[in-house]
């Protein structure tokens, strides 16, 4: 169980989850090919997955572990965010920490870069859509105070 939580901590975005899916498929296929498993485990997968699988385990045990991990990854919940700037790893860390603490521990992010929103964020989760962008706020200001602005 500790292994699971460690691996989930490390998977923060949809891209990272997809990469892990690919690695799981690679190991699953190698399980049934003689002599390939060792090569795959040593050279073709990330340290995260390698640590999770462990060393010297029987093929049946590895297969069971991979199935469990896949199920866990399937159960992660996606938050879609549109940002006006190109995010860094620290930005992702900050956002994910906040959302996992306040929303759900199973959150991962799907981030889109959209510079025309100027600033702020568009947030989508389980069918809920919230727009907290500067562009929208500015539009509201101009819409409501248009007459006032022109009289200045």
């Amino acid at each position: 169980m500790q292994n699971y939580s460690k691996i989930i901590e490390l998977i923060k975005t949809v891209e990272e989850r997809n990469e892990l899916y690919s690695e799981i498929d690679l190991v699953s296929q190698a399980l049934f090919r003689e002599g390939e498993l060792k090569n795959v485990l040593e050279n073709q997968i990330s340290i995260v997955l390698k640590d999770y699988i462990g060393e010297g385990n029987a093929r049946e045990l590895i297969s069971d572990k991979l199935s469990e991990l896949k199920k866990l990854l399937d159960g992660l919940e996606i938050v879609k965010l549109n940002l006006a700037f190109e995010h860094s790893e620290s930005t992702v860390d900050k956002i994910i920490a906040y959302l996992r603490k306040n929303l759900s521990e199973k959150i991962i992010l799907e981030i889109h870069y959209e510079p025309n929103i100027l600033g702020g964020v568009i947030f989508e989760f389980k069918g809920i859509y919230r727009d907290y962008t500067l562009k929208t706020k500015l539009e509201e200001v101009f819409k409501n105070k248009k007459e006032k602005l022109f009289t200045l």
């Binding site: 900050k94 562009k135 101009f142 022109f150």
Partner: protein
């Protein structure tokens, strides 16, 4: 002893068999003779039948020739009779036609003269009547014309006034419509001008804000947005 008996028996058998053979040969000979006679009879009868047939055909041909000759003669006779009859009819018909023509011509001439006279009389009468009629009508026409002219003058005066009124109203309506159109156009152009000005101003502010925000400010805005979303119930 036995040999003598056998020889005797053999000779006897040969004798008997020879007798039987002679009888069979005699019978065969007779049969052939009869057959020959029958064949002769058949040939003779066939010949007779053929001759008889030929005779019948010849007889029929002669009979047919006779019938055709008689028929031809009869036909010629009928045709010559018909021609004679037609010539007679033609003659009598021509005579009748010429007589009818003459009689019709006379009748037509009489009828034409009669009609001409009647027509002449009729025209003279009409002429007299018309002169009288024109004399009485010309007065009526004069009165009617005077009255028509009076009524036309009054209608014309009335219509002129009405037309002037209608034209006046129409000009006024069109003037009002043109005035409204100018007002609408003015408002529309002003709104467009305002809108463009608004857009330019908004874009300028957007550009200014976009350039002025650094990563830290961006992150703060994002975090503020997320807090607000969760507070408003995103889960």
């Amino acid at each position: 002893m036995a040999e003598i008996f056998l020889t005797y028996t053999l000779l006897t058998s040969i004798f008997l068999l020879s007798g039987v053979l002679i009888i069979v040969v005699q019978y065969l000979f007779n049969s052939l003779k009869k057959n020959h006679m029958y064949q002769k009879d058949i040939d003779r009868i066939s010949k007779d039948i053929l001759n008889h047939n030929q005779e019948m055909i010849d007889h029929a041909r002669l009979k047919a020739q006779e019938i055709i000759a008689t028929a031809s003669e009869k036909a010629n006779e009928i045709i010559s009779n018909t021609e004679t009859f037609s010539a007679d009819i033609q003659m009598s018909t021509d005579q009748v036609v010429s007589e009818i023509k003459e009689s019709q011509k006379q009748e037509f001439n009489k009828a034409r003269d009669l009609l001409l006279n009647q027509y002449k009389t009729f025209l003279e009468e009409i002429y007299k009547d018309n002169i009288n009629l024109f004399k009485s009508v010309s007065k009526d026409i004069e009165e009617a014309a005077v009255s028509e002219i009076k009524s036309f003058r009054s209608v014309l005066e009335k219509e002129t006034l009405e037309s002037q009124k209608i034209v006046g109203e129409k000009i006024e309506g069109e003037y009002r419509q043109a005035e409204q159109e100018i007002e609408d156009f003015k408002n529309k152009e002003l709104a467009r001008l305002h809108d463009n000005f608004y857009k330019i101003t908004q874009r300028a502010i957007e550009l200014a804000i976009g350039k002025s925000l650094d990563r830290g400010l961006h992150e703060d805005l994002v975090m503020d947005g997320l807090k607000e979303a969760i507070e408003k119930g995103a889960d």
